[in-house]
Symmetry: C2
């Protein structure tokens, strides 16, 4: 087995805080997504891989998952399944299990990463899935990091922990701080198997070479959109408290219908939960696609997250969405947040397509980014705005807008009342990532400069963070 | 005066380490660039602003700059001037003084940021330049951060220090960690005046409104290319040691001619210096453009930096450069580094141009990024590769490749022998920034997995860095 499973889960002494806590509940979630590659042990399964109730990770029974979730310190509240995926509403957020990937998202002081070795062990032992193909772990900067349990609360610790599991002999890993360290930011870790053709051994015995085409099929058009919101409108949040005499089921139904959430993707199968005295979670499914919403309505720590992998072509039926921008606008309308972080991962078209469509600007020599097998060239540079550093001639530019990703084209128009404060794009090998951060415009009622200053200044945070105290030896 | 000048420079107890030191010299430089806006006090000067020997910052005499450089802990070794700019070769790197901006780059354990208040004071008191228009401060992760003096050595401290000078009432500031915290990374801080139309007071009394057009003229087509290299080829480094019996002048001449540096921009006026026993610095000028090179050749801490603002149209005459890629390739050829970081800032075309050329995809509502007055739209998203999330229709795409920035188009072909490990794009309001990181391919001679692992694993660094230990209160 290529991944290293240290006995980290033995160290867990974390205690979960329920969403009911009124004292500084940590809404911002830890989000883990692991993709597995079928190997020869799972060949029979692989042939049925795309659509089968009893294949890959989906053969794992609920008690086994519940045992894993005990390490995280959360419980299953409800679940639903369709032909493609099992969804679980958890006491702290959500889990989605596909045959070839697992998505686990947990809030509060849960210790998600401590369960990663167990997840890998379950995949290997129970399902014969021993090759990890892609790992994504991300979280927004915590509101109350001091309350987190190791390795959470310090991004450096989380990256180190993950690098101990995905070791450099076998994986390219990246730990990023995305956005401003003196403002809103979000952290991302990725791991992908090393497949450098010039690293000794790989050309003779690359265990990943077997299922390349199948993986590309699984990855094709994959995307994840997240909208992470804080400082929510207190008026809007009143709907997310359970009413006196209302059951949790009645509360969930009322919230879904009255909050505006019910009109976002009305054609999906929904599993949701209203917490007592407040808080709300929702998982929605349509075929192989999901959306999930979590709301912490308390004014002093209000937070809501929205996440989906529904392509705009699916989202647009029966709705009239033309772009993700419209989805984002609708989500923002439900919560009216003071601060919004938007992230969008999108899988690049596969290597073959790219090579044939872009030969004019491509030399024979190619480089690789982040260990992916996608060929890229040195200065095939990203473009940020009209007139910026561009790398494409007209031919390849036409390919961009006419490609199969054309349904993802996001045309420009602002969200009224918000200012864009940050925009960063990462080339993550097989994926592109766009990060954007927005702030609601300030009211004219803010009369004094000292008040304006207080909104941004967090010197203790920046000082204590010491985010780049590099000790000796970075290149020695 | 809008900027706040605390008495930080009184705290300096730093001692400079000369390039001659054989024990872990810190080659990676701190780089500060400050742009000033002429105000009514400097009106007479402003009319001559573009090209005048005695205008703006250029009226400052050398003893005043030397006094400022004493705070940094470095000295002037030589200087040259032309109609546009004064360049200084320093005992630790370089300084360039224009009428409207200053660029200060210092290596070793110099305390560059401690001199920033003095620079602002000189600009205000001596030159009547009281409005700071843009600030950029950047540095690669240090090799030996523990040797640095406060506020250097911890990126969080540097950001906090800068935020104390550029306060949130008046400036939008951004502190970024660019690249992998568990690998090669580079830090960037930017500040730009707050000009939000909805922040109280600005619409009545925006001191920046006076010289908008002139600033746009100064900014037009501005760019900065940096190539930061480590693990240099020891064979190539032999040229950068002073030979026995050779004077420093003879050494500099030999290095310039023999190393390959002399063929990069041969049509420029060069001021260079050979250090004893090793090390080399070069400043080159052509009209308003510069290039600068600094080399630390010692094997255990080898490092070289290349920086220029020469547009490719100027660089290409009399040379046959078609793109910056060719310049980068030539620079890499001189040093044959194991690791290469490339950064490219480029000024976006001015607001007016963008609005007229991109009306099809632009709504009436606009947002602003980083406090710039450049209008942007919510999902006018950057593009990373063919087929990625695109925001332009064909019309605006044509504008990209046919724009005045077309001479900056970097067409694709790899640097032989290097793998691209990271690529990130930032939208910095008025500027686009591209960051890319490359690693020389490994030799097949690396037989053992443990050796391969040792190249990447730096757990102490990641753990000690604790780069995102966010304490309480990030949004409370």
């Amino acid at each position: 087995m290529i991944v290293n499973i240290p006995p980290f889960s033995e160290n867990s002494a974390a205690t979960a805080v329920s969403p009911q806590s009124l004292i500084g509940f940590e809404g911002p979630e830890k989000l883990l997504e692991v993709w597995f590659r079928p190997n020869s042990d799972a060949k029979e399964c692989r042939e049925l891989h795309h659509r089968h109730r009893s294949c890959g990770l989906r053969i794992v029974d609920q008690p086994t998952w519940e045992d894993m979730l005990n390490i995280v310190k959360c419980q299953v509240l409800s679940r639903k399944s369709n032909d493609y995926v099992d969804e679980f509403v958890l006491s702290e957020s959500s889990m989605f299990v596909y045959s070839h990937k697992i998505i686990l998202k947990t809030c509060g002081t849960t210790t998600l990463l401590l369960a990663l070795p167990r997840i890998l062990e379950i995949a290997h032992t129970n399902c014969g899935l021993e090759l990890v193909d892609s790992v994504f772990y991300s979280r927004k900067a915590f509101m109350f990091p001091a309350k987190q349990k190791w390795p959470h609360g310090n991004w450096g610790d989380e990256v180190l922990y993950l690098d101990t599991i995905f070791q450099p002999e076998h994986f390219h890993t990246s730990g990023y701080v995305v956005g401003k360290i003196n403002g809103e930011h979000w952290n991302l870790y990725t791991a992908a198997p090393r497949r450098d053709s010039d690293v000794v051994g790989w050309d003779e015995e690359d265990p990943y070479s077997e299922a390349d085409e199948e993986m590309e099929e699984l990855y094709k058009d994959d995307l994840t959109l997240e909208v992470l919101m804080s400082e929510l409108n207190p008026e809007k949040m009143k709907a997310f408290w359970k009413k006196d005499g209302e059951t949790e089921e009645e509360g969930a139904k009322r919230i879904y219908n009255d909050s505006g959430l019910g009109s976002i993707f009305p054609h999906t199968t929904v599993d949701d939960h209203c917490f007592d005295p407040c808080g709300y979670s929702l998982n929605g499914l349509i075929d192989q696609y999901y959306w999930t919403v979590h709301v912490t309505p308390e004014d002093h720590c209000s937070y809501a997250s929205f996440e989906t992998n529904i392509p705009i072509s699916v989202a647009a039926s029966p709705l009239a969405y033309q772009s993700y921008e419209e989805v984002v606008r609708k989500v923002i309308g439900v919560f009216e947040p003071g601060k919004v972080t938007v992230t969008l991962f999108s899988r690049k078209p596969e290597n073959k397509d790219r090579e044939t469509s872009d030969t004019e600007s491509r030399s024979e020599s190619s480089t690789s980014v982040n260990g992916s097998n996608h060929a890229t060239t040195l200065f095939q540079l990203p473009v940020v705005g009209p007139g910026a550093v561009a790398s494409w001639g007209r031919k390849s530019v036409d390919n961009i807008v006419s490609s199969e990703h054309a349904n993802m084209v996001l045309t420009g128009s602002a969200v009224d009342g918000y200012l864009m404060r940050d925009r960063v794009v990462y080339d993550l090998g097989g994926w592109d990532l766009v990060f954007a951060q927005f702030t609601r415009k300030r009211r004219r009622a803010l009369k004094f400069a000292t008040e304006v200053a207080a909104l941004d200044a967090r010197p203790e945070e920046v000082r204590a963070a010491g985010k780049a105290a590099e000790p000796e030896g970075i290149s020695s």
